[in-house]
């Protein structure tokens, strides 16, 4: 978008937000939900629906009602002000980041925090401000539960990082691949991982993303970064994981597309699916050893798949969240989560944000950002007033690890043919992993929330132990290679 068009975009977004809110909180919509509720109760008597089918329909209605009540509790004026402030914040953040000038963005951030606090007040849920705002991303999450999940990470991750920092790891990525070669590798990856080209479409954009535009319309974007020959490949693995989840969500008929039960249950669960394919599969030794001949064919001067594996796991902390690997990623999230809770309900002043950010990076990652562009201005989320989203990224790591343990157990059973995840990867049988995820995870859509789903699938409440165990195991394997 050209920079001068930002004010016009802000007006358009505010108009859309107002119209959308008016529809979603309208009497007409309320009546339709009531009718649907009545019909569902009638149908169970007249059509002999199974209890499961009835429960699904009931859940659909409940979720529609929940969202209707939320929309209804918001003042249309606030909806418009928020839409405008988001567009303005985003525009100012772009300028601020380009100039590394936090002051130029801080008034917009203050305004967004004030409006979000007002939104939480109007929603009037039995939750704290931050918790209320986090609901659209992680339904039913509380700060208390979040601390239970994250505290072990806060203790253990810095220790593991210290340990790795003692190793000597040569920089292996002194080669590059041209755009076309990288695209060929990405196509091969998706084709191996069950791509149907009639259902999916790949394009490029400055920031990779995955999006679903219809019941049979799944799209994703990636981009080639010069000098980083694995960046596009791993981003493709990640976005493809998101897309596979969306492709596996339950659809009864195309008119039901995007009904609540056919949606993703939480952003954390969504992230767990992208991270499973990116980290557990693509960054595994088994995968690197199987796939490296394709890299060599495209001109990569790799000695072995073992080299590719090492290159895929640099274990070097940096200031950038998006480029962080499994070991330091969690620390980036802990810092953001603490800071946004402090900003919204802990009394942290916006002007103190850069200092707090830098102090925590020094403490947890041993790194000082050069300036605020590398520091607290690096992510887009807060620029649009999106608070409560960051933890989902880390919850995704935990869910992925815990689901992987359950998957491993089942594959290793007589019914699973005494297989293992790594065996499947090594022999190009990722379709078995996908089939497991489809049945155990994707098909449930939003029938239960993320933690309920994890407990149902793994038999245990979500915890950070599987993730930490997985990390320790990977470090042990990588240690020999330093």
């Amino acid at each position: 978008m050209p920079t001068l068009s930002a004010p016009w975009r802000a007006e358009q977004l505010a108009l859309l937000a107002r119209q959308l809110h008016a529809r979603q909180s309208s009497k007409e919509f309320q009546d339709l939900i009531c009718e649907a509720k009545f019909e569902t109760n009638e149908v169970i008597e007249s059509q002999n629906l199974s209890e499961t089918e009835f429960e699904e329909r009931k859940r659909n209605i409940e979720l529609l009602e929940q969202d209707f009540k939320r929309q209804q509790s918001l003042d249309p004026k606030l909806v418009i002000m928020l839409a405008t402030a988001k567009a303005e914040g985003y525009s100012l953040w772009q300028t601020a980041r380009a100039k590394a000038d936090f002051q130029c963005f801080s008034p917009a951030l203050k305004k967004l925090i004030g409006l979000r606090q007002e939104q939480a007040r109007q929603l009037n849920e039995p939750r704290s401000c931050w918790e209320t705002l986090a609901q659209p991303f992680e339904p039913d999450l509380s700060i208390h539960r979040l601390q239970e999940l994250f505290t072990p990470l806060r203790e253990t991750l810095p220790q593991l990082l210290d340990e790795v920092n003692g190793w000597k790891r040569p920089d292996l990525l002194k080669w590059d691949l041209d755009e076309n070669s990288q695209k060929i590798l990405c196509d091969q990856l998706m084709s191996d991982w069950g791509r149907d080209v009639a259902l999916t479409c790949i394009s490029s954009s400055p920031h990779p993303f995955s999006i679903t535009l219809g019941p049979k319309d799944f799209r994703l974007t990636t981009r080639v970064v010069q000098g980083q020959p694995l960046s596009c490949f791993l981003a493709t693995a990640h976005e493809w994981g998101h897309s596979l989840y969306e492709q596996g969500l339950p659809v009864q008929s195309h008119q039901w597309f995007a009904w609540p039960v056919g949606q993703a249950t939480s952003m954390g669960l969504h992230e767990s699916q992208s991270l499973f394919w990116e980290n557990r599969v693509a960054r595994s030794r088994a995968f690197a050893e199987r796939f490296w001949p394709h890299f060599v064919k495209q001109g990569a001067p790799l000695q072995s798949g073992f080299d590719l594996w090492k290159s895929m796991n640099p274990l070097t902390p940096g200031w950038n969240r998006v480029e962080a690997d499994e070991l330091s990623y969690g620390l980036h999230i802990l810092i953001r989560t603490d800071l946004e809770i402090a900003l919204l309900e802990g009394g942290l002043e916006v002007d103190a944000l850069p200092g707090e950010w830098n102090r925590r990076y020094k403490d947890l990652l041993g790194i000082s950002p050069k300036n605020d562009s590398e520091g607290c201005l690096q992510d887009v989320h807060w620029s649009e007033g999106q608070f409560g989203y960051f933890p989902s990224y880390l919850i995704g790591h935990l869910i992925s690890a815990q689901l992987s343990e359950a998957m491993q157990r089942e594959l290793d059973s007589p019914e699973g043919n005494h297989d293992s995840i790594d065996f499947c990867i090594r022999f190009g049988q990722e379709s078995k992993l996908l089939a497991w995820l489809r049945k155990a995870v994707h098909l449930h859509g939003r029938k239960m929330n993320a933690e309920e789903l994890v407990k149902k699938v793994t038999g245990k409440p979500l915890s950070s132990s599987p993730f930490l165990n997985y990390l320790r195991g990977k470090l042990r394997m990588l240690k020999g290679t330093s």
Copy 2:
């Protein structure tokens, strides 16, 4: 778009078409137009509007009323059926073209023709069916007037083509440039031709286009074609010409953006602006000689700007309209125009279309398409039932040539500092050409129709003579180079 999502897209488009038509033909909209009309008449009395200002406001209201009446005369059922048939037609055309199988598309084309004929009946204008459908693209155009304009071309273009076919012209394009080099050249071109980066944004897409999304939001796309080092460059010149016209349209305030008077007056005039920059400027000898050092800097093995000029003007007829040069382009349009008039009101059967197409290509261009993909399936327009658009491309050539003559006269006057178009091009003073176009053409928006504008600017009714004179002159200059 993934192929399987076509039916869903068709449903969405039909829904949007229905809602848009409901708004545009609503009592509420009618009342608003009435109020605006009343207010305009009041305002002239109370505010002492100048006559020009009053005329502009009146014209705005008249155009709104005209469009309202058209919308109101259409049956909503037809609107939905047309939207559905367009989406289906487009999808089937894609399949048909990929398989070079016209039979697979012909039922959709028959349906579209039937629906368009019904649309013309419902619009019930004092015009023939084809004329009625051409109105949105060329307001007030008649078939009679079209034949007046095109008959000299039908006679002269094949003669000129025959003459050129006798020349021996070596293929100069045995080199290529990488994507990045081509992008640098395109950036240089737009920068030389008045680009403000804060207002404009460039991206890539399979088919180049230009689009305006807000009063300060002008975007265009191009694409690099391997083995054709001038394709992206000339497409950029073309799309930038479209964009310059849009950038120059009158805007009183951003709330008036996209009001009738602030719109393009016709597609032919729009095309004249893209063709002026592509053909009259970029493909001129003066431009090639000035610009070739930039090509050489990017690695092109050109001996001289003269070589670049020859490469930009191959004068070789082919089956493909989009890739045709100035000499044969008109013939592609004559064939399409004749055929679509025959299909809509001349009794030509759809099944006879491929045969008629091929016969006329043989007659006029001396070429036989290998199959229907290279023949009557090459263009997207008919697949979406778009009839009446093709002539605009050729009218654009005529308008560009006639405006250029007037521009040349004015530059060569004492007020114009005894300049010439080619002098301005040779010394990188294209800003003078742009300033002339802005004032003489762009700023009038839709205040008058295309022919009225041409007459006002050039003092003469539109005719094909300036274009044919221009072509003859160019051929004379190129002849020495064969």
